[in-house]
Protein backbone atom coordinates (compact mmCIF):
# COMPACT_ATOMS: atom_id res chain seq x y z
CA UNK A 1 0.00 0.00 0.00
CA UNK A 2 1.45 3.31 -1.03
CA UNK A 3 1.50 6.27 1.28
CA UNK A 4 -1.07 8.04 -0.81
CA UNK A 5 -3.76 5.30 -0.71
CA UNK A 6 -3.30 4.92 3.02
CA UNK A 7 -3.81 8.64 3.47
CA UNK A 8 -7.00 8.57 1.38
CA UNK A 9 -8.32 5.59 3.35
CA UNK A 10 -7.64 7.39 6.62
CA UNK A 11 -9.54 10.44 5.45
CA UNK A 12 -12.56 8.24 4.75
CA UNK A 13 -12.43 6.55 8.14
CA UNK A 14 -11.87 9.88 9.87
CA UNK A 15 -14.92 11.35 8.19
CA UNK A 16 -17.18 8.76 9.81
CA UNK A 17 -15.60 9.30 13.20
CA UNK A 18 -16.98 12.84 13.13
CA UNK A 19 -20.04 13.34 15.33
CA UNK A 20 -21.68 15.56 12.70
CA UNK A 21 -21.64 12.79 10.09
CA UNK A 22 -23.49 10.36 12.35
CA UNK A 23 -25.83 13.16 13.40
CA UNK A 24 -26.63 13.75 9.71
CA UNK A 25 -27.15 10.04 8.92
CA UNK A 26 -29.43 9.45 11.92
CA UNK A 27 -31.34 12.64 11.03
CA UNK A 28 -32.08 11.20 7.56
CA UNK A 29 -33.00 7.74 8.85
CA UNK A 30 -35.28 9.11 11.59
CA UNK A 31 -36.83 11.52 9.06
CA UNK A 32 -37.63 8.72 6.62
CA UNK A 33 -39.14 6.62 9.43
CA UNK A 34 -41.34 9.59 10.40
CA UNK A 35 -42.52 10.13 6.78
CA UNK A 36 -43.75 6.52 6.65
CA UNK A 37 -45.24 6.78 10.14
CA UNK A 38 -47.17 9.95 9.19
CA UNK A 39 -48.70 8.11 6.23
CA UNK A 40 -49.64 5.15 8.43
CA UNK A 41 -50.99 7.50 11.12
CA UNK A 42 -53.28 9.35 8.68
CA UNK A 43 -54.62 6.01 7.40
CA UNK A 44 -55.16 4.64 10.93
CA UNK A 45 -57.03 7.79 12.05
CA UNK A 46 -59.14 7.67 8.86
CA UNK A 47 -60.41 4.19 9.80
CA UNK A 48 -62.73 6.13 12.15
CA UNK A 49 -64.88 6.69 9.04
CA UNK A 50 -64.51 3.24 7.50
CA UNK A 51 -67.10 1.49 9.67
CA UNK A 52 -70.08 2.38 11.88
CA UNK A 53 -69.30 4.41 15.04
CA UNK A 54 -65.53 4.11 14.53
CA UNK A 55 -65.53 0.33 15.13
CA UNK A 56 -62.36 -0.35 13.08
CA UNK A 57 -60.54 2.55 14.76
CA UNK A 58 -61.51 1.30 18.23
CA UNK A 59 -60.36 -2.25 17.38
CA UNK A 60 -57.00 -0.89 16.14
CA UNK A 61 -56.56 1.29 19.25
CA UNK A 62 -57.17 -1.79 21.45
CA UNK A 63 -54.60 -3.76 19.44
CA UNK A 64 -52.09 -0.90 19.95
CA UNK A 65 -52.36 -1.35 23.74
CA UNK A 66 -50.42 -4.63 23.29
CA UNK A 67 -46.98 -4.39 25.02
CA UNK A 68 -45.14 -5.00 21.72
CA UNK A 69 -47.01 -2.09 20.11
CA UNK A 70 -46.34 0.14 23.14
CA UNK A 71 -42.60 -0.62 22.83
CA UNK A 72 -42.72 0.14 19.09
CA UNK A 73 -44.46 3.40 19.99
CA UNK A 74 -41.63 4.16 22.41
CA UNK A 75 -39.10 3.50 19.62
CA UNK A 76 -41.05 5.98 17.49
CA UNK A 77 -40.74 8.52 20.33
CA UNK A 78 -36.94 8.12 20.09
CA UNK A 79 -37.10 8.90 16.35
CA UNK A 80 -39.33 11.94 17.00
CA UNK A 81 -37.18 13.29 19.86
CA UNK A 82 -33.89 12.76 18.02
CA UNK A 83 -35.24 14.37 14.84
CA UNK A 84 -36.74 17.31 16.79
CA UNK A 85 -33.67 18.06 18.91
CA UNK A 86 -31.13 17.59 16.12
CA UNK A 87 -33.42 19.86 14.08
CA UNK A 88 -33.20 22.48 16.84
CA UNK A 89 -29.39 22.18 16.68
CA UNK A 90 -29.47 22.73 12.90
CA UNK A 91 -31.71 25.80 13.29
CA UNK A 92 -29.38 27.16 15.98
CA UNK A 93 -26.50 26.76 13.52
CA UNK A 94 -28.52 28.75 10.94
CA UNK A 95 -28.36 31.61 13.43
CA UNK A 96 -24.63 31.05 13.98
CA UNK A 97 -25.05 29.38 17.38
CA UNK A 98 -22.86 26.31 17.94
CA UNK A 99 -20.68 26.53 14.83
CA UNK A 100 -17.50 26.66 16.91
CA UNK A 101 -18.85 24.39 19.66
CA UNK A 102 -21.08 22.10 17.62
CA UNK A 103 -20.19 18.99 19.65
CA UNK A 104 -21.22 20.69 22.89
CA UNK A 105 -24.52 21.81 21.33
CA UNK A 106 -25.11 18.33 19.86
CA UNK A 107 -24.58 16.53 23.16
CA UNK A 108 -26.68 19.11 25.03
CA UNK A 109 -29.50 18.41 22.56
CA UNK A 110 -29.03 14.67 23.15
CA UNK A 111 -29.30 15.25 26.91
CA UNK A 112 -32.73 16.82 26.28
CA UNK A 113 -33.63 13.74 24.17
CA UNK A 114 -32.70 11.44 27.09
CA UNK A 115 -34.68 13.48 29.64
CA UNK A 116 -37.82 13.60 27.43
CA UNK A 117 -37.43 9.91 26.59
CA UNK A 118 -37.29 9.06 30.31
CA UNK A 119 -40.72 10.66 30.80
CA UNK A 120 -42.24 8.74 27.87
CA UNK A 121 -40.57 5.48 28.98
CA UNK A 122 -41.94 5.91 32.52
CA UNK A 123 -45.46 6.36 31.09
CA UNK A 124 -45.08 3.42 28.67
CA UNK A 125 -43.66 0.95 31.22
CA UNK A 126 -46.24 1.98 33.83
CA UNK A 127 -48.93 1.24 31.23
CA UNK A 128 -47.38 -2.12 30.29
CA UNK A 129 -47.07 -3.14 33.96
CA UNK A 130 -50.42 -1.90 35.28
CA UNK A 131 -52.61 -1.33 32.20
CA UNK A 132 -53.15 2.23 33.44
CA UNK A 133 -51.76 5.66 32.64
CA UNK A 134 -49.68 7.59 35.16
CA UNK A 135 -52.49 10.08 35.80
CA UNK A 136 -55.37 7.62 36.07
Amino acid sequence: MSGKTRETANVGAGLWKATGMWAWLLFRISGLILVFYLGAHIIVVSTGRWTEAGRTLNDLMKAFDNPVMVLLDLALVVAVLYHALNGVRIMLMDFGVGIKRHKLVFWSAMAVVVICFAIFAWVAFTFIATGKGVTS
Binding site: V77, V88, M91, V123
Partner: protein, 108 residues
Protein backbone atom coordinates in the same frame (compact mmCIF):
# COMPACT_ATOMS: atom_id res chain seq x y z
CA UNK B 1 -34.82 29.24 -0.65
CA UNK B 2 -38.59 28.96 -0.06
CA UNK B 3 -38.33 25.24 0.54
CA UNK B 4 -35.54 25.90 3.07
CA UNK B 5 -37.54 28.64 4.83
CA UNK B 6 -40.81 26.69 4.97
CA UNK B 7 -38.98 23.59 6.22
CA UNK B 8 -37.86 25.67 9.22
CA UNK B 9 -41.22 27.39 9.79
CA UNK B 10 -43.01 24.01 9.76
CA UNK B 11 -40.26 22.55 11.99
CA UNK B 12 -40.96 25.13 14.72
CA UNK B 13 -44.75 24.62 14.34
CA UNK B 14 -44.30 20.84 14.56
CA UNK B 15 -42.15 20.99 17.70
CA UNK B 16 -44.75 23.10 19.54
CA UNK B 17 -47.88 21.32 18.25
CA UNK B 18 -46.38 17.83 18.50
CA UNK B 19 -45.44 18.49 22.13
CA UNK B 20 -49.10 19.34 22.87
CA UNK B 21 -50.32 16.36 20.80
CA UNK B 22 -47.98 13.85 22.50
CA UNK B 23 -48.64 15.15 26.02
CA UNK B 24 -52.42 14.85 25.55
CA UNK B 25 -52.55 11.58 23.61
CA UNK B 26 -49.56 9.60 24.91
CA UNK B 27 -48.79 10.88 28.40
CA UNK B 28 -52.26 11.84 29.71
CA UNK B 29 -54.50 9.56 27.64
CA UNK B 30 -52.46 6.37 27.12
CA UNK B 31 -54.73 3.32 26.78
CA UNK B 32 -57.78 5.56 26.53
CA UNK B 33 -57.62 6.76 22.91
CA UNK B 34 -60.74 5.76 20.96
CA UNK B 35 -63.38 7.21 18.62
CA UNK B 36 -65.30 8.88 21.46
CA UNK B 37 -62.28 10.24 23.36
CA UNK B 38 -60.87 11.75 20.16
CA UNK B 39 -64.27 13.42 19.69
CA UNK B 40 -64.15 14.84 23.23
CA UNK B 41 -60.66 16.25 22.64
CA UNK B 42 -61.63 17.77 19.28
CA UNK B 43 -64.74 19.38 20.81
CA UNK B 44 -62.29 22.10 21.90
CA UNK B 45 -61.47 24.57 19.10
CA UNK B 46 -57.83 24.77 20.26
CA UNK B 47 -57.29 21.08 19.55
CA UNK B 48 -58.87 21.41 16.10
CA UNK B 49 -56.24 24.07 15.34
CA UNK B 50 -53.48 21.80 16.74
CA UNK B 51 -54.59 18.83 14.63
CA UNK B 52 -55.10 20.77 11.38
CA UNK B 53 -51.74 22.55 11.77
CA UNK B 54 -50.08 19.19 12.55
CA UNK B 55 -51.67 17.67 9.45
CA UNK B 56 -50.65 20.50 7.10
CA UNK B 57 -47.20 21.24 8.57
CA UNK B 58 -46.50 17.51 9.00
CA UNK B 59 -47.33 16.68 5.37
CA UNK B 60 -45.30 19.63 4.03
CA UNK B 61 -42.28 18.94 6.28
CA UNK B 62 -42.36 15.18 5.58
CA UNK B 63 -42.65 15.44 1.79
CA UNK B 64 -40.22 18.36 1.50
CA UNK B 65 -37.73 16.38 3.60
CA UNK B 66 -38.29 13.31 1.43
CA UNK B 67 -37.73 15.53 -1.64
CA UNK B 68 -34.35 16.70 -0.28
CA UNK B 69 -33.25 13.10 0.34
CA UNK B 70 -34.41 11.89 -3.10
CA UNK B 71 -32.73 14.84 -4.85
CA UNK B 72 -29.42 13.68 -3.37
CA UNK B 73 -29.64 10.29 -5.06
CA UNK B 74 -32.01 9.80 -8.00
CA UNK B 75 -33.56 13.14 -8.86
CA UNK B 76 -30.30 15.01 -9.36
CA UNK B 77 -31.06 16.82 -12.63
CA UNK B 78 -33.19 19.97 -12.67
CA UNK B 79 -35.75 18.31 -14.95
CA UNK B 80 -36.14 15.24 -12.74
CA UNK B 81 -36.30 17.40 -9.61
CA UNK B 82 -39.19 19.39 -11.15
CA UNK B 83 -41.13 16.20 -11.89
CA UNK B 84 -40.47 14.97 -8.33
CA UNK B 85 -41.68 18.27 -6.85
CA UNK B 86 -44.89 18.15 -8.92
CA UNK B 87 -45.60 14.53 -7.92
CA UNK B 88 -44.97 15.27 -4.23
CA UNK B 89 -47.29 18.32 -4.34
CA UNK B 90 -50.03 16.07 -5.77
CA UNK B 91 -49.39 13.47 -3.05
CA UNK B 92 -49.36 16.16 -0.37
CA UNK B 93 -52.62 17.78 -1.48
CA UNK B 94 -54.29 14.35 -1.69
CA UNK B 95 -53.03 13.50 1.83
CA UNK B 96 -54.31 16.85 3.16
CA UNK B 97 -57.77 16.26 1.62
CA UNK B 98 -57.90 12.67 2.90
CA UNK B 99 -56.66 13.68 6.38
CA UNK B 100 -59.25 16.46 6.63
CA UNK B 101 -61.94 14.01 5.49
CA UNK B 102 -60.80 11.64 8.27
CA UNK B 103 -61.08 14.36 10.95
CA UNK B 104 -64.35 15.84 9.64
CA UNK B 105 -66.88 13.89 11.81
CA UNK B 106 -65.06 15.10 14.94
CA UNK B 107 -64.51 18.73 13.94
CA UNK B 108 -67.75 19.59 12.13
Amino acid sequence: MWSWLFQRITAVLLIVMLAVHLIFTHILDIGNVNYDSIGERLAHAGFIVVDIVLLAAGIFHALNGLRMVLMDYWFTSRKRAKILTAVLWAVGIAAMVYGTWALWPWIS
